[in-house]
Symmetry: C2
Subunit: 333 residues, 2 copies
């Protein structure tokens, strides 16, 4: 999902601004990327339909709609019947809906493949190996050390390794932790699939159903689990995803269960990314994107590139530097 | 499962006798096979614990207990608390149980691997190819024709291809149909797994939880679907298996979902196998084992071998010849 709005937790106005700034660049970003790679990214510009299942869910959705109106990004409130006119596969039992224009989706696997190919074409060199440590001398970056002990010298290093950012030695304290998410991929086969991205509050839980451009895949996610790098797909999580999925969209029970998988979001204490420089000269951080890594790809690429080239951090990224986590007085910086 | 008793549908007394005859040979069969192959088969001689979830399920279990007592194979009726003393991982909410001695289990994949290896060691030749047709001349078998058109001459042919028995041309009408079953395999990892094979009636559905000897796998099954050779693992079936599994054994929700799969049982009109000769001389049938293929392996091997060697069909198999399906008068044989 590219959901600047529906992925925003209430009150995170500055993060919403960052999300919207990234989405505003998405169409150009994807056009340029598809041209550079000759590969598709699966961008879908259909709106996002959030729905509520029970009375509590409906109250939560209404509060969210109020928040959006307050921050100048109103969405269309829908009845159950109106929601089903937008997406006929929804269960008649849903209570209410909220149609959010401008929350798109793209296929993260296609995007990744296109980025790798475009980068290779542009002359990016990929070196295999796990970066174990960032090396520095007198507070200035000198390069990285790989797990096998070999070193690569560099005057600048960008930390962009997602949930693993906290695993690199030699860095200042980067408060990034893995937040486990389990998802399943369904294949409608010859059955009709949803046409809109559905987000649903179901008995207090939150799920999404994202149809891919191909029509051959509906991504159903996701759990949010504080279990570190636990890699297990569990029976209970798959059960709950399938249960909530069929509650919202009964037809999904007829789809093939094509895949189950686990990922780790790079979580931070305030759920916002860490962008920009830090105390160590030459070290740039581009991590902690939590659930918005794909959405924030264009803005991250732009502000980090500009920072490296000009030394200036764009104002939209300024609230997201590492130093916001400094504890006044209680801890030496 | 090697469940001569709990896999028996009420009133199928003769099938129960066949099942019990096969189980009585199992220990020797497995000992011989493990020696011949130097491979394990995962045989577990723990009893089978059948449990009921709601009042209707309990009534059904009681009726089944009555049937077993009537046919001289009584099982021990247990309260909820007694059931949980036998298997502490069961949910406190189960109503009643039935402890069936002599319903064992073995690992079908290990058994298969051991059989293949033992057969190779004994000089069995395996020829690749899909048998498309059985050839005959004047009602006497002459061999088989493969899908690529090549032929293999033979004076005797044993049809032992399970759910695909109805797909071979040139045979008399063999009323075997595929009955789709979906199962999931769970991995307890470091968590405790069940020690007994659990069969459960849950809100009218029927599931089983079979722990493997290794402790690394619990097989949770199975759907029974009349969908021909449909090969899809569906979201709805996995959902229902996981739901019923966690209803009976809450801990199962914490296990890893290791695998989902589909199989096709060779179903017949009366759920019993088809064993022995038929109108076509030299053609022997060993198919239609429905849910009891693994259990009936020893007795099938013995009676079919004896039939080929001596021309006589053992009396225990006599009720299961193809001609029982002949419709008197209404259809030419």
């Amino acid at each position: 999902m590219l959901a600047p709005v529906t992925e925003t937790t209430f009150t995170e106005q500055r993060l919403l601004d960052l999300n919207l700034a990234s989405l505003s660049r998405y169409a150009d970003f994807v056009a340029e990327l598809e041209m550079a790679s000759d590969l598709p990214t699966g961008l879908r510009r259909t709106p996002n339909l959030s729905v509520a299942y029970d009375a509590d869910d409906a109250a939560r959705l209404a509060t969210f709609a109020d928040f959006l109106a307050r921050v100048g990004h109103p969405a269309e409130r829908l009845t159950s019947g109106e929601s089903r006119r937008h997406e006929p596969l929804l269960a008649p039992t849903i209570r209410s809906g909220l149609l959010v224009e401008g929350d798109w989706s793209c296929d993260n696997r296609l995007l990744w493949r296109a980025l790798i190919k475009a980068a290779h074409r542009m002359g990016v060199r990929e070196l295999p190996g796990f970066v174990h440590r960032v090396t520095s001398s007198n507070g200035v970056v000198t390069g990285v050390e790989l797990a096998d002990g070999s070193r690569i010298g560099a005057g600048g290093v960008v930390v962009a390794n997602g949930a693993w950012a906290g695993q690199i030695d030699g860095l200042p304290d980067v408060p990034v932790r893995p937040v486990k998410g389990q998802i399943v991929r369904l294949d409608p086969g010859r059955l009709p699939g949803p046409s809109l991205t559905i987000r649903a509050y179901v008995r207090g839980a939150e799920i999404y159903l994202v149809p891919r451009e191909s029509g051959r895949e509906v991504v159903l996610g996701a759990t949010v689990e504080e279990l570190g790098f636990d890699h297990r797909v569990t029976a209970g999580a798959v059960y709950e995803l399938l249960r909530d999925g069929r509650t919202v969209m009964p037809m999904s029970a007829e789809y093939a269960l094509a895949e189950t998988s686990v990922g780790w979001r790079p979580g931070t204490p305030d759920n916002a990314p860490i962008l920009g420089g830090c105390d160590m000269e030459g070290l740039v951080l581009a991590t902690g994107h939590y659930r918005n890594g794909v959405l924030l790809t264009p803005i991250t690429a732009d502000v980090i590139t500009a920072l490296i080239m000009s030394g200036e951090l764009d104002s939209v990224a300024a609230p997201f530097t590492l130093d916001r986590f400094a504890l006044t007085g209680s801890r030496a910086q």
